[in-house]
């Protein structure tokens, strides 16, 4: 009898491992989804550079997260700030108190790290140089993502690890903040130093329409991401249990509602400006927002999250355009604003709203405070370190490509153009004297 139950436990463990590995594969598929989405939304001349940056993202994440990032994020806590072992996965399989999924846990988390990185490439596309982008990817995988990840998820591998945000009760089930907002706030830091694409704004500051290369291709990217999200959220249980079905259902509902609401909101209240981009972005916004709590929401509350995400996405999109923050693929409204929304809306879960059938006012306020703290810490960390990183890059290897390269399309190895203008020096001096 005992042998039989032991066999059943082992079988359950194997099924959990298979499920998490399948989920990791689905999250990896999101890299292809991001590639299609971003290539579809930028201009044709930049598609090669955008696609190659996506490849670089994954390659960098695979190596840097393996050697340093995973250890900093999930290793044994040191001074309450970072992990201090598991570098290069040393002893990962032999540690007794670690997560039994071992390397499969690493593969799943690696796919998440890759997602955080690739958000930045889309937002800053069409004008960022290849070398600075490569360096930025390394630093995000090495420092920015794992350190905040340790604060919020540091107890996922070693259950007794200190993880100060998680210990306060911060809930971010699959990474509305940990993955998506981190990527978005780093992007925001980069964009604030980079400036808009040439030709993006009129003289009066009003935006000029920049035509996306291929909206159907972007829609294909959306579908790949949407499928990947089933693994992103469904796999975050780290076990194949009865909650997986509801998590995937809630995820799907929020994405669908976000898409519909963003579409009609744009049609009715925003003069259909960028309606296709907003339809796609609204779906992604709903998916990002539900990511913080699909395990404790109901289908109804998931719908509420999707509705609000659709509206927040559209207003966020227009707000950035107005502020001349030129996010080429609309990544910040999706991953930043909807990430914040979803992290705060954790509190609309019936599990938090009610205790023994009665409305738990203090419980809701406390949880909302903890969620807001997590959101603020994430912004403060990712934005400030991102700003410092991009500023340093700008002053050293450079950040923005030349106007010629921006016009003709960014390449991995840009040609340095000779000055081709014939200048009448006498006239130049005369003009400058009047300056």
């Amino acid at each position: 009898m005992e042998t039989k139950s032991q066999e059943l436990i082992e079988l359950a463990g194997k099924i959990d491992a298979i499920w998490v590995l399948i989920a990791a594969a689905l999250v990896f598929l999101m890299q292809a989804g991001f590639k299609c989405l971003e290539v579809g939304l930028v201009r044709k001349k930049h598609i090669e550079a955008v696609a190659m940056k996506n490849v670089i993202d994954w390659a960098v994440a695979s190596l840097i997260f393996l050697v340093f990032g995973f250890g900093l994020m999930f290793g044994k806590d040191s001074v309450g700030v970072i992990g201090s072992n598991l570098f290069f996965l040393s002893n990962l399989e032999s540690v007794e108190d670690g997560n039994s999924l071992g390397i499969i846990f690493f593969m799943f988390q690696l796919a998440f790290a890759g997602t955080a990185l690739t958000i930045v490439s889309g937002a800053m596309s069409e004008r960022t140089g290849f070398v600075p982008y490569l360096v930025a990817s390394v630093l995000i995988a090495l420092l920015i993502y794992p350190v905040f990840g340790h604060w919020a998820w540091g107890n996922l591998f070693f259950a007794d690890n200190k993880s100060w945000l998680a210990d306060l009760g911060f809930i971010d089930f699959a990474g509305s903040t940990v993955v998506h907002s981190v990527g978005a706030w780093v992007s925001l830091a980069g964009l604030s130093l980079l400036g808009p694409r040439i030709g993006r704004y009129n003289l009066d500051g009003s935006p000029r329409d920049i035509k996306a290369f291929n909206i159907p291709y972007a829609a294909l990217g959306l579908f790949m991401l949407w499928l990947g999200w089933w693994g992103f959220n469904g796999g975050s249980t780290l076990a194949f249990d009865s909650s997986v079905g509801l998590i995937i259902l809630n995820t799907n509902i929020a994405g669908a509602t976000g898409a519909i609401v963003a579409y009609f909101h744009c049609k009715l209240f925003q003069n259909k400006v960028g309606i296709y981009e907003k339809l796609i972005g609204g779906a992604l916004g709903g998916l990002v927002a539900i990511t913080a709590s699909p395990h404790i929401q109901t289908p109804f509350t998931s719908m509420v999250i999707g509705i609000l995400a659709g509206v927040v996405h559209n207003y966020g999109f227009e707000y950035l355009v107005k502020k001349r923050i030129d996010d080429a693929v609309g990544a910040i409204p999706v991953h930043g604003f909807c990430g914040v929304l979803g992290t705060l809306l954790v509190v609309i879960s019936p599990e938090i709203l009610f205790t023994d059938g009665a409305f738990n006012f203090m419980g809701v306020i406390t949880q909302l405070g903890v969620q807001a703290l997590g959101v603020a810490i994430c912004f403060g960390w990712a934005f400030s370190v991102g700003l410092l990183m991009f500023y340093t890059l700008k002053k050293t290897v450079g950040l923005r490509v030349s106007p010629d390269e921006e016009r003709e399309g960014i390449t991995l190895f840009p040609k340095i153009k000779e000055k081709d203008e014939q200048i009448d020096e006498d006239e130049l001096k005369k003009l400058l004297s009047e300056f």
Partner: protein
Amino acid sequence: MVENINIAQVSICSSETNFDLVTLHQFLKIPSLKRNELIMQQKVEFIDIEGGKINLMDGLRAITSLIKKLREEGSYSDYIKNQ
């Protein structure tokens, strides 16, 4: 006023590998000595609203006439401060 000259942005080559993009107004706020040095070294490119390149001399002529007009109206310092 600025509409007449059609310069939407100015690209400044700040190093061999970095280019800064500023508005015309931000460009005019650069101290004239530094600005002239950048122009003499051809590190400046004027860009129209569609993102196209404006010939350096054409851009300079347009800016000079803009500055002249603003000075005649006595509104140059307001333009620099307020925009």
